[in-house]
Symmetry: C2
Subunit: 214 residues, 2 copies
């Protein structure tokens, strides 16, 4: 069993440095300082050991998320969940990087597995958003789209962190995601009435002041 753990540790290291495809069984056993045959005593093949690492991720993320208590401070709780996900992923940035960009090059069965994880995540988020709509704290609109966007934004910022370019404090990331969900960032002028409730906002055709590219 110690051997098994050691191999998992070694595999994580190798996958992280070389990526899934360039990681050879030989690399893993070298890093784990065991013979090749030993690897096959504990794991069926490369996919199965990788799969086990990924499952660990999923489990940790799932375990970290708390169902938000309707009566308490929503902002704090939503932020807690964002924070938990960010933490799990950034504790193993290189593996997260592999996991978050899955579509290319893994076998079909594997893609399906990750796919279904995301589906699960989206469905959960979506259900939460619908509940939110019923109680008025999520605006009307397609919750499936909201879920997709949220996960996309989350993935992208994590990938950016994981790949090392421009590392930021985690709390900054958490707050920024929250801010995006809460109010976006485009402030093009809408109807001149300034006292409109956020829910009521629709963009009327009215020439706006200035324009960025994008």
């Amino acid at each position: 069993m110690v051997r098994r753990q050691e191999l998992l540790r070694a595999a994580r290291e190798v996958f992280a440095t070389k990526g899934y495809h360039d990681a050879k069984i030989d690399d893993i056993v070298a890093a784990g300082k065991v013979a090749k045959g030993t690897f096959y005593l504990y794991f069926k093949d490369k996919r199965s050991i990788f799969s086990e690492l990924v499952d660990g991720f999923f489990t940790r993320i799932g375990g970290a998320i708390l169902r938000v208590d309707a009566e308490a401070d929503v902002e704090a709780q939503v932020k807690h969940n964002i924070r938990a996900i960010v933490a799990v992923l950034l504790d193993d940035p290189l593996l997260a990087q592999i996991l978050l960009s899955y579509a290319t090059g893994l076998d079909a069965a594997f893609v399906t597995k990750i796919q279904s994880f995301y589906d699960g995540a989206k469905t959960m988020l979506r259900a939460a958003l619908e509940e939110g709509q019923r109680s008025g704290i999520v605006s009307d609109g397609d919750t499936a789209l909201y879920a997709t966007f949220t996960i996309g934004a989350l993935k992208e910022i994590i990938l950016e962190q994981a790949s090392g370019q421009r590392v930021r404090p985690r709390e900054e990331i958490v707050s920024a995601i929250f801010a995006l969900l809460q109010s976006g960032y485009l402030r093009i002028a809408w109807a001149k009435t300034p006292s409109v409730a956020p829910e009521a906002r629709t963009a009327p055709k009215r020439p706006s002041q200035r324009a960025p590219r994008g």
Copy 2:
């Protein structure tokens, strides 16, 4: 030259159906109905033909984006750009799928190339957002983060479309992204003053009504 075009066409088809890694040169030449040797008359190796396909994508996207005219209807123009990007990507959904999830399994040189494309895109978007901040139509805050989130959301919805689950009309996607940028979707209660301008919004600690999970 006809041969070359034909090979590019064949390669696109094969990459789309099998993914980058599982696409064999033999598959490409079979699809193109030429002998293997012919392939090497026109392309150095698999990477180089894939690279050429990707360059095509980049060029088309770059060409489709228009600098927004400051004096005209901003919403329409921003939407135009979103629409253009969505169109290019969804015209080759399977290839887009490969391109948008790049990190795993391509050689280092290649990852760098795609990486730098995204960097370019983010930088452009960021510059646009900063211009927007100066003219007051983009809220204060880190434009680099805004750019990352926007691109992440865009990538995710395209991936969802490309992988065929739940296909939506393009205009719906365009409007939804625009809406996200404009106002997010979370509507948790902020300070009781209802007539606050959107820019002034900060979340005060105040128990909110109900809570979704997520």
